[in-house]
Each structure stands twice: as structure tokens, then as C-alpha cells.
Symmetry: C2
Subunit: 259 residues, 2 copies
Amino acid sequence: MCQLLGMNCNVPTDICFSFEGFSRRGGETDEHKDGWGISFFEGKGCRTFMDINPSAESVISDLVRHYPIASLNVIAHIRKASVGKIALENTHPFVRELWGEYWVFAHNGDLENFHPQLSGCYLPVGDTDSELAFCSILQALQCGVTEKPDLERIYALLLLQAERISNHGIFNCLISNGEFMFAHCSSDLYYLIRSHPFSKAQLKDLDMTVDFRSVTTPDDRVAVIATQPLTVNEEWTRFAAGQCCLFSQGRILADNAAL
Amino acid sequence: MCQLLGMNCNVPTDICFSFEGFSRRGGETDEHKDGWGISFFEGKGCRTFMDINPSAESVISDLVRHYPIASLNVIAHIRKASVGKIALENTHPFVRELWGEYWVFAHNGDLENFHPQLSGCYLPVGDTDSELAFCSILQALQCGVTEKPDLERIYALLLLQAERISNHGIFNCLISNGEFMFAHCSSDLYYLIRSHPFSKAQLKDLDMTVDFRSVTTPDDRVAVIATQPLTVNEEWTRFAAGQCCLFSQGRILADNAAL
């Protein structure tokens, strides 16, 4: 299995602190050492850093840990290979363009008997069930509508797709188009929203603390989503199985558990 | 205008030496300081490093200069913005998936009265004429055929598209799917093929020499393509205006100037 990390904010924020802890789980404090990746949205642009080396040791993850990139939406993934060999083409996050926007996807879990019919508009490059699932989601979104629908409709479409894919196994996933962050939980996923009044946080995976009071303004809101809590002194909320949340501007905009 | 750098080899090779010189042109030895990017194919996978900071100063280009990544196909670009603001979404290379492969594209030049009709399968995220041209090329390839055709057919299709777009202005470009490198010249483009017997090369943009005899085997072949020659003591061949070459395994497989 793998681990996911997502961040959705209302002001461009760097993920260095969370990634410090998360990246240690790739070969140091945990076993997810078969590659890692992280995608940052910056405006409409998106850049991804990835490596097949363990995130705890990779030269590139070292750069990401120490080079603050301000972003409203970030998705990161550390891999423990199950389906698909250790290779760059099987490394999450996966990125495709839809409706003139980059869409980023990462998945934790395994799917069985999952053979969606793909028309050819989105095809996997590697051989993970994850990339296949992402292509089938994008195809379903694009085939449904030629122009980008409103957020409510996108959430309904994503929810439907997540439910469809979940029938085939464990499907914890994060999806972002730079505007929102969609999170679906099958088994393990937690979130935390940091907002005023901010406090200190202590990482779980290494002895590191940050005092958010010194680096925020009262209006800042940051949602962090992770397979397992990253800090020991903050209250993380566990997603229920089947729960789907749409985060925007550091708030939960839609939540099927609240319906 | 911008500058292009491409590499196509028969054994995975790092581009550190060429990128050392090339990246200095982004704000040190030349004026292309409005962002830069480089895409490496590794197997079927592809990763891109990019930044809106000048390549001569960027922390990330410093990593690329010193971290050898072995690749058969690499495309790099340094930008001097003309159409489209300085932003990540306007930074080359652009990457899309076609026929289950990543395709990478970078462009030097400006296009005028260029308004291709896009069906929606490939849409630009940023606002450069370059990304628009890339989307129109991929659409033409995909719409022509639903399954990947043979290399001869792909070359013919790319040649047709390059000629069509060149009617709108300067269109020096590099395209790769990880298997081949297609290069089209409107105005400025050079290439060089390094093969046995190898010798020493001296960069033009800084005092740095490499002796390729110590890092190669007799079977190695490396084609380097660049807007302006990168070394001072090697013989670079200038493309003619309208010339299109398809490089594979460090050789020219197809060349419309030879037809």
C-alpha cells in the first residue's frame, strides 16, 4: 500500500513542514520506499517532482523539503509497489489535461477485476491500476460534458466515479485541478484544517516543531489530508469508509457524509 | 525568442555537460531569463523540471546541472517571453499523453494569425502560441488515427503539421515521445552527432571541458540539437529553413532535405 498527502489552502502556502514528516515514511519511519512524487499547482501551472528512489533518501525530495513552493493545492504520494513495477511511469501523482486545466491524481489501495473500457482520449502510460482508474475518471468527466461544468456538477460526477471504482477494491484517492481538492476514502484517510487561532505543531516522524502563529495571518486556512496523521498534538478527523469531501480555499465545500 | 536543446541517444546518457552551458544562457551569457524547463524520458516515464526563475540562477536548474539523469531523449527550453506572461503554465516543455505515451514539446519562435480549431481533446492551459501549436499537432495526430501508426507515418504527419504551422511564422521546435526526437527548423537550429571515435568538447558559455573518451563505449551515439552551438571545437550542422529531421538512437532516420 501507499500513502497520500494533500494540501488545500486559501493563500499560497508551502508544504515543507508536512513533507518533512511525510517523506520520512518513504524508507525511514515506514516502508513506502518504491518511489514518490509531489505536484504543486502555481496559478494555472503545475509542476511535479518525482523519483523512483525512496523519498527519505532522494536528492530531489531533499530539494522539495528545503525549497518552499507557495501553492494552493498540492498532492504527494509515497509508493509501496503492488500492481506495476518500480518505474517512473508507475510513480504517482499522475497528471493529465482536461478542459484546459491540469488535473492531478494519486491513489492508495488495490483494485481487482477492474477493466474499464477506454475510448482513447485518456490512456495509461504505465501499468498501475491507479493510472487506469484516473484515465477512466477523466474519460467519464469529458464524455459527459464538453465544457467545464460548475463545481456542484463536478463533485457529483467525481463522487459517482469514486463509488464505481470502489466496488473493485480499496480506493483512497486525491484529485485536484488547482482549484479544489477532492478526497475519497475507502479505508484510511484523515484531515485537519488549520485556521485562526493557530498554534504549534509537532511532527510524528521526526523531532520537528513549527509555530504557525509566526507564519500566518488570521485569515489563512489550510486543509491537510493524509493517509495517517502527520502531527502528534493536533486533532485529525478520520474519514468514514465511502466518505467523499471537496475542499476549496481550506474549507469543506461538499461532503457526502453530511447529505 | 527562446532557445531549444534536445538530446537523442542509443544508450541512456546524462545531459549535465550540455545543460551546464545551455542554462547559462538563461540570464548569464544570454537574455533568455523568463523561465526554463527540461523533460527527461526514463523508460516510458517522463519527468519535467521547470521554474520561472532564470536558469542561470534557479535552485532547481542547479540540481539538474549536478544530478545526472540517464535518458534516451531529453528536451530543454529557456524562455524569453513574447506571447504569454512569465508564469509556470507558459513555461516549456509542454507534456501531454497520446496513444498511451507521453509527448513532450518545446518551441522557439512567434506565430501570427494562428487560430486552429480545437475539438477539446487537447486544450492549452496557458496562453502561449506554442502550447496552442502543440495541442493542434496532437489533435491532428489523434484525429487521423486511433491507434499509433508506424514511425514513417508519424514522421509524415508531423512534417505536414510543422509545414502548416510554419505558414504562421517562426516555428523551430522539438517533439519527442521517448522513442524519437523530431526537430523542425524555421530559422535557427543546429545539430551534432557524437560517435566513435569520441574526443574532447569545450563549452562555449563557460570554461568547461569534457573528454567523451572516458565516459563512452565505441557503440554510443548521441545527437544533440540546439538553437545555437553549445561547444566551440566541434562541428555543428545548421538546419536549413524548412528542414525536418527525425532522430532515433542517435541517428537521423528521416530528413525532408534528403528527399
